[in-house]
């Protein structure tokens, strides 16, 4: 049994909020540099150059990569031999978000009620996903999610007869409909299977994977590669101004599902697909 104090958790979450919002992942910077080398459209090239420069500037000057510092989506893997002391885990995480956003000069973008819409002032509460795992470690991932892209996401529960062709058509239709809105180049997280709730969670989880890594299952990797190529043939391009770089990656995650359904969730994300993790 390992004891972890809430004060340690709060401090870790605060630091992760700032790290994720300020330091763009090297995998994404590399992907944009590769895209720039292959992008023939002048307007598209200019946007990629700006985004690469923006990431370097943000890291150097300790500024947020994007002013939409997102809603804090937090994934917690809690070892079942861990005991939390000094408070409630969820409260400690939210206290960390509050502190991280305030002390990091990150934008408070959360309203307390979807209809009444009063800003909570400190970007709380977070959306927290808990997973109970073996061992005595606590792994926390903070993934700030911008909503310009979130709003362009879509979910559909197909009949099994729709098959892989139905999935492909739906994903590409979602990408085309989104056009310039999600700030291309995008990263597309796709959840296949499960239930209505499970497939959307899978799609979100898919965004945590490093760009350049593929699903280990051959048929899902093939789907990722085919969808990425098709996305980049739409012509949407960086910022939607036209070009061959519409997506940097398409990540698919799958889960068993019901005999009656083929759930598909498409979670759209911009180049600032941010996440930072710590293991306590």
């Amino acid at each position: 049994m390992k004891e972890i104090n809430c004060a340690v958790i709060e401090q870790a979450v605060a630091r992760l909020c700032q790290q994720a919002n300020i330091e763009l992942g090297e995998d994404i910077v590399r992907a944009m540099q590769q895209a720039l080398a292959n992008e023939p459209a002048p307007a598209g090239r200019a946007v990629l150059e700006e985004l690469i420069e923006n990431a370097a500037l943000a890291r150097r000057e300790r500024l947020a990569i994007c002013q939409d510092t997102g809603m804090a989506i937090i994934f917690v893997k809690i070892g079942q031999d861990v005991r939390i002391t000094g408070g409630i885990l969820t409260d400690a995480i939210n206290a960390g978000v509050s502190r991280g956003y305030r002390e990091g000069y990150l934008r408070a973008s959360v309203v307390s009620d979807p209809l009444l819409r009063v800003n909570t002032g400190d970007n709380t509460p977070a959306v927290i996903h808990y997973d109970l795992v073996a061992g005595d470690a606590l792994e926390i991932t903070v993934a700030p999610k911008g909503f310009g892209s979130e709003n362009m996401s879509a979910v559909k529960l197909f009949s099994p007869s729709a098959g892989v062709e139905g999935v492909k058509h739906f994903v590409l239709e979602t990408i085309r409909n989104a056009g310039s809105n999600p700030c291309p180049p995008i990263i597309v997280g796709i959840g296949l299977g499960g239930s209505l709730d499970k497939c959307t969670e899978l799609a979100k989880t898919a965004l945590l994977r490093s760009v350049g890594e593929y699903n280990p299952q051959p048929h899902l990797r093939a789907l990722e590669e085919e969808l990425l190529e098709a996305a980049n043939q739409t012509g949407i391009g960086p910022s939607g101004l036209g070009g061959r770089t519409t997506a940097l990656a398409v990540h698919v995650e799958a889960y068993p599902t019901h005999i009656a359904s083929l759930p598909v969730a498409v979670n759209m994300s911009c180049h600032a697909t941010r996440h930072a993790s710590v293991t306590l």
Binding site: A41, N54, A58, Q67, D68, G148, G235, G240
Partner: protein, 187 residues
């Protein structure tokens, strides 16, 4: 391509020959306003109340910046998705608003209204908030301070880089740009 230098506030004379795809560098005063501020501006118009800012020939930047870190006028400050303001935009163009800066598609009603009023829609690069903040010299909250990031701010900008997305004739870069680079027609 050379950038066209323009001073803010703009004039109809200055923008009438701009074409979708032109790169423009803006210097002078503009105002930020996004979802919540737009809702209040329209509510004020419906109540017959005066607006907190004069819109004639002014430019609105759809942006909700990060708080200013010490020693800086503003935090990261890129554009937000313009489409969410579409329901409100024609009313503001009627009030004399001449230009908008944002990102993303607009409805046909907004395009028509842009043409009708000889206005213009510029794009700034979405996701380049840290870079764009370097072109903002001053930021002052001038209305709806309680909205926080969504308050209306008066910004003084220098060489603020934008591209013409929809020109005063209704030409749309989001149609012509991707069409030129698509590898096959839409199915």
């Amino acid at each position: 391509m050379n950038k066209i230098q323009l001073e803010l506030p703009l004039t109809h004379e200055a923008i009438k020959d701009l074409k979708a795809g032109d790169l423009v560098s803006l210097s002078g005063v503009l105002y930020t306003a996004r979802d919540a501020a737009h809702k209040r501006l329209i509510a004020a118009l419906e109540q017959g109340e005066p607006l907190p800012i004069e819109l004639h020939n002014q430019t609105i930047y759809y942006a909700g910046p990060c708080p200013a870190p010490p020693g800086r006028p503003i935090g990261s400050a890129g554009p937000t998705t313009s489409g969410r303001m579409d329901a409100y935009t024609p009313r503001l163009l009627e009030q004399g608003l001449i230009a908008m800066i944002g990102k993303g598609m607009r409805t046909e009603a907004v395009v028509q209204s842009i043409v009708q009023h000889g206005a213009i829609y510029f794009g700034a690069t979405g996701g380049a908030g840290a870079l764009l903040a370097q072109r903002i010299l001053q930021a002052t909250v001038v209305a709806y301070a309680d909205l926080g990031a969504e308050a209306i701010r008066k910004l003084v900008v220098e060489d603020f880089p934008v591209v013409v997305l929809i020109d005063s004739l209704g030409n749309n870069l989001y149609e012509s740009g991707p069409a030129a680079w698509a590898e096959k027609p839409r199915d």
